[in-house]
Symmetry: D2
Subunit: 325 residues, 4 copies
C-alpha cells in the first residue's frame, strides 16, 4: 500500500482545506495512506505530523485558512535540513510529497527532487493568481469577492460624501487582484505594477469624470505600485490645483484578503485540483504541478513556473477603461 | 451615428444589470447611441423604452435583477406582433438588437433575423448554465454561491440534529446547479436529471456512510428529478427498514437562487461579454451569440444553441462521488 | 470544587455554541468544572458526555448549530427515565444542570427540580423569540438577518418581473419572526398568527398599492397562518377579479432560518447570558432562567414562562403598516 | 398642511436611508409634506433640495450611505450663514427641521432653535454609539457585524500562521465599537480609550495565553488608543524579550466600517426612530431628540447630550476578560 504526505506551504489562501480534503479523500478512495506534516516545510524538518483520513478532513471544506498550519522556514534552504526532511519522509515510508503552495514552495520542494530524487507533486494556490503556467491558483476568486464586498461598503460612504477614495489591495509584483477587483467594482482608475499610470493620468481621469457628471471616484491601487497612505496626499495636492475636489481618503484592505470561507469556485477548483493530483500520480506521474489551462485541468512539469512571470492580459485593462466611462 | 437597442428577456439572473451597463458604456465609448426596451419582447411590441447612456447605467453594476425589467410575452410568437416590434425598432432607427437572454429568447429574436433580416446579437444568461455553445452563462456563479451559503446554514442544523436532509435546487432539465452546488457543499448524494439514481442507491449511500462514521447527510436534488416534498418520505420509509435513521427533512431553496448582488465573477464575465458584444458588432458582425469557450470569449452563430442540449461532464460526477466518502 | 453539567435542548438556533463557550469559560474562571451531555435530555438518560474546558470550546464562538448536539427525547417524560437521568447526574457529582433551551426544555428540566430537588438553570434560546419572561432569546437576531438577506434576493427577481410574491417564514404560533422580517424588508403585507388579516385585506392592499404606483409586492407569511403553497393561488384568483395582476409566486425560507454563523448581537447576548448564568449561580441562586428585560440581564424563576404566551407589540404592526405605504 | 425638512448630517452610517424613508412615509401618512436638503447643513445654506414622497424613498431601505448626501460645512458656525439657512427654510414654509445626525450636528442645529426659535428634531446616528442620552445610535449594529465578518477572515490567516494580530477599529474617543467587536470575535485583548492597558498587560496576557495552550492571538485596538502601525512593533519587541513569539501583524479596518447594507436591527431601529420622531412631533413636541432607553423609544430634550460623555459599561469589560481565557 502506498503512502503520501501533504503540506500547505507559504502564505495561506482560502481553499487550502478544501484541497487537503480532496487529496486525502481521493488517496483513501484509491487505498493510499496519507499523513500531513504541520507548518509546511518546518514540519518536514521537525517531524511534526498527523495521520489523515476521510473522517479527519470532514467539516473543513468551508473553512478558511489551513488546519495543517503554515509557516516560513528558512532552514530548508540549507542542505543539512533538507537531509533531515528527507529522512523524516523516509522514516514514514512516504512515496511522494504533495505540496499545496505557490512558486516559492514549489522551488523549495523541487530541491528534494533534484538532490534526493524524491517525488513531488504541486498544487498551486495563492490569492495573487500570479503563478506562471496555470490560469488559476486556489484562493483568487474568494479574494476578489472579499474585495468586492469591502469596496461596496466603502463606495456607500464615498458616494454619500462625494469623495475621492483610494483602496489599496494586495499584489506586490502582480496586478491580477487589483485589476479584477477594479473591473468588478467599477473603479475609475486601476493602478497595477505591470502598467502603472503617472500621477497626471489619475488626476486627468478625475477631472474629466467630474465634467461628465461623476460625483465620487474610486481608485484601486495594487500595493506594489505605491502606498495608499503616500499616494492620497499626492493626488489631493495635484487635484487642488484644478479646483475644489475635496479630500482624498484611503483604506488598506489588508489581511481580510487572505481569509474567509472559500467561494463556491474555490471549493470546486480546489476539490478538482486535489482529485486530479492524486489520480494523475496514481497513473505513474511525478514531479508535476497541477494547472488550469483554457478551462481544463492538466499537469505540467513542476519547474514550469520557475523564473517565469505571469502578466495580466492587457485587453482586461481596456475593458476596465471602457467601463469606467 | 449608429444606434442599438437592448433588452433583457426571460427569467432574470444576477449580472443582467452589469451586462446592460457594459453594452451601454461600450457603445457610448464608440459613439453608438443606445435605448433600452422595457420588459423584454413586450417592450418591443408596446414601444416602451428608455434612452440609455453612461450616466443612466451608473450604480447598477452591483445590483441583482434587471432595471430594464423582464416579462413573458407570448404574443411575440404571432407574426403580426413581430411586425409591430420591427416597426418600433425602425421608428427608433435601431441598427441592431442586443438580447441578454437564454436559449428561448435567442430563438424568439432570431425570428426577426429570418423574417425581417434584422440584426440580432445575443448575450447568454441563465442561472442554469444550460445554454449549448457556451461554457458559461451570466448568473450561474452567483447562484452557486447563494446555494453554498444557504446550505452551510442548513448543514449547521442538520449536523446538530444528526439528520438526513434533502435540499431541492433549481434545474428542471439540467443538473449544472445541483452538481456544482453538491460538490461545493460536500453533499453525500447529488441527484440530477441527466443521471438520476434509483432510490436504493440513495439509501445504500446513507447506510454505508453511517457505517463509516457519518452522523448527518445532505442530498442535493435538482427539481427536475423529483419534488423534495415527495422524495423525503420515500427515503425515510426505505431507510426505516434498515434501522433507526430518524426523520428526513427537506427544504426548497427556491427564488433566492435567481437574485442577489452578482458575484465578482458574474460582474466580470457580464462586463466582458458586454464589451465583446459591442466591439465584435462594430467590426461588422451580426447575428451572433457571445460565448465563453476554453477560457476565451468569442462569437458563435446566434442559432448555435437551437435544439441542442448541454450536459454536465460525467467526470464532475466522479469527483463528487470520491469527495463524499 | 463544584461541578456543573450543560446541555443544549430542543430545536437548534445560532448562538448555542457561543452560550456553551461562555458557560464553560466562566465556570472555569471561577474554578468550577463542566461536563456537557450530548443530544440534550437524551444524553442525560444515556450518560453520553464530554468533559469541557476553556480549550475545548475554543473556535466555536462563530459556529452555527451546537457541537453538543440536540435531539428530541420523549422518554424523559416518563418518571423512570428521569430517575436514570438524575442518577447519571449524581454519578458525575453534578451540582447543577444548565439547560440552553426553550420553553419546552425548561418545563422538562423543571421536573428534575420538582421531583429530585435538583438545581436547574435555564438560558433561553429560540429563533422564534416567543419565550415569555424575556424580551430576547438567543438566535432571533441571526434569523432575522438571514431572512433579510434571502428576501433581498427574492425582491430582485420580484421587482424585475413585477410580480406579487409570498415568502413563508417560521413561526407556528408566534409572529415575531414574520413581523420583524417584514419591517426590515419593507414588506407590503405581514401575516402573523396573532393578528391575521382576511384575504380581502391582502387583496385590497395590493390593489391600492398598484394605484399608488407600486409595481411589485412582497407578502411575509408566518407558517402558522397558512401555507404559502395554498395562499398563493387564493390571492392570485381573488386578484384576477380586479384586473391583470399576473402570477403570484411563493417561496418557503425553511431551515436556513435555523442555521448560520451567529450575528454579532447573538454572539454578544449568548456570551453575556452565559456569564450571567454562572455568576448568578455562584452567588447561591438556583432554578432560575436568565432573561433580558428593558435592556438589562437578570434572573427570573425558571417556571416564569410556563403556560404563558408572549405576543408581539401591536405598535410594531402600525409601524409596518405606515412604512409600507 | 404642514411641511417639514430633513437632512443627514456628519459622517455617514448604515441605516440613514432607512431613517429618511421612515420620516418621509410617516409624514406622508399623516398628510405632512417633506423636502430633503442635500449635503446636510450645506444644503440649507445653498438651498439645494429635493421634494420627497413615499415613492421617491422606495428602494432605499436596504442601501448603505445616504441618498441625501452629507458633507462638512464650517460656514454654519458663522451667524450670517445660519441666517441664510433660516431664510431658506422659511422660503419653503418649513415648520420643523429633522436632523439625522450625531452630537455635533444636534449642537449645530440647536443654534437655529436658540437664535431663531426654529423647531428641530434630532434622530441619533453614528457607528460609534457614543451619543449621550440614548442607548443606541443608528449604524452601530451594522458596524459591529461588518467588523465581525472582517475579523473572522483575519482569524483564518492568523490561526494558520499562529501569529499575533492587531486589528485597529474606529473609535477616536469611544470604545463601544472595539469592545463589542472584541467580545463578538473572542479577542484576547481589547484596547479602548476609556480603559487603556499598559503595554506590559498586553504582553503578559499573550505570554499567559501561550502557556495555557493558545496558538494565536487577536488584539482589538480602538484608533483613539494608538495606531496599530505603531503598536505592532512595540508589542513585537517587548514579546521578543520573553521568547520566540514571531511577528506581530496588523490591519486597519478603516472605512468599510461606515458602509454596507444596514443589518436587520439597524433597519428596524431606524424605521422605528423615524416613525416615532414624526408622531411625537405631530403631538405637538419640538426640540427633542429620539432616544432608545431600556428597550423603549422615547424623546429627550435636544440638548440632553451636549457636553456629556457616554461610557461603555465596565461590566462588559469583565465579560470580555472572562471569555478570552
Amino acid at each position: 500500500m502506498k503512502k503520501i504526505a501533504i503540506i500547505t506551504s507559504g502564505g495561506d489562501a482560502p481553499g487550502l482545506n478544501a484541497a487537503i480534503r480532496a487529496v486525502v479523500r481521493t488517496a483513501n478512495y484509491y487505498n493510499i495512506q496519507v499523513i500531513g506534516f504541520k507548518r509546511g516545510l518546518k514540519g518536514l524538518i521537525e517531524n511534526e505530523f498527523i495521520p489523515l483520513d476521510a473522517r479527519v478532513v470532514s467539516g473543513f471544506l468551508d473553512k478558511g485558512g489551513t488546519f495543517l498550519l503554515t509557516a516560513r522556514e528558512n532552514r530548508f534552504y540549507q542542505y543539512e535540513y533538507r537531509k533531515i526532511a528527507i529522512e523524516n519522509l523516509k522514516k514514514h515510508n512516504i512515496d511522494a510529497l504533495f505540496v499545496i503552495g505557490g512558486n516559492g514552495s514549489f522551488q523549495a520542494a523541487n530541491l528534494l527532487v533534484k538532490e534526493f530524487n524524491f517525488p513531488v507533486i504541486g498544487i498551486p494556490k495563492t490569492i495573487d493568481n500570479d503563478t506562471y503556467g496555470t490560469d488559476y491558483t486556489i484562493g483568487f476568486d474568494t479574494c476578489i469577492n472579499t474585495n468586492v464586498e469591502a469596496i461596496e461598503k466603502i463606495k456607500d460612504t464615498t458616494m454619500s460624501h462625494e469623495r475621492i477614495f483610494i483602496v489599496e489591495v494586495m499584489g506586490r509584483k502582480s496586478g491580477f487582484i487589483a485589476l479584477e477587483t477594479g473591473i468588478a467594482t467599477g473603479a475609475d482608475v486601476i493602478l497595477i505594477p505591470e502598467y502603472p499610470f503617472p500621477l497626471h493620468v489619475i488626476v486627468d481621469t478625475i477631472i474629466e469624470g467630474k465634467k461628465r457628471g461623476k460625483n465620487f471616484f474610486v481608485i484601486i491601487l495594487a500595493e506594489g505600485v505605491a502606498k495608499a497612505q503616500e499616494l492620497a496626499p499626492l493626488v489631493e495636492r495635484e487635484l487642488s490645483k484644478h479646483g475644489n475636489f475635496g479630500e482624498v481618503r484611503y483604506s488598506v484592505l489588508g489581511y481580510i484578503q487572505r481569509g474567509g470561507s472559500p467561494s463556491a469556485y474555490d471549493r470546486l477548483i480546489a476539490s478538482r485540483f486535489g482529485v486530479f493530483a492524486v489520480e494523475h500520480y496514481i497513473k505513474g506521474n511525478i514531479n508535476f504541478m497541477v494547472a488550469l489551462e483554457k478551462g481544463e485541468i492538466l499537469a505540467k512539469p513542476l519547474n514550469v513556473s520557475f523564473g517565469k512571470i505571469k502578466k495580466p492580459d492587457l485587453k482586461q485593462f481596456e475593458v476596465a477603461n471602457i467601463l469606467s466611462t
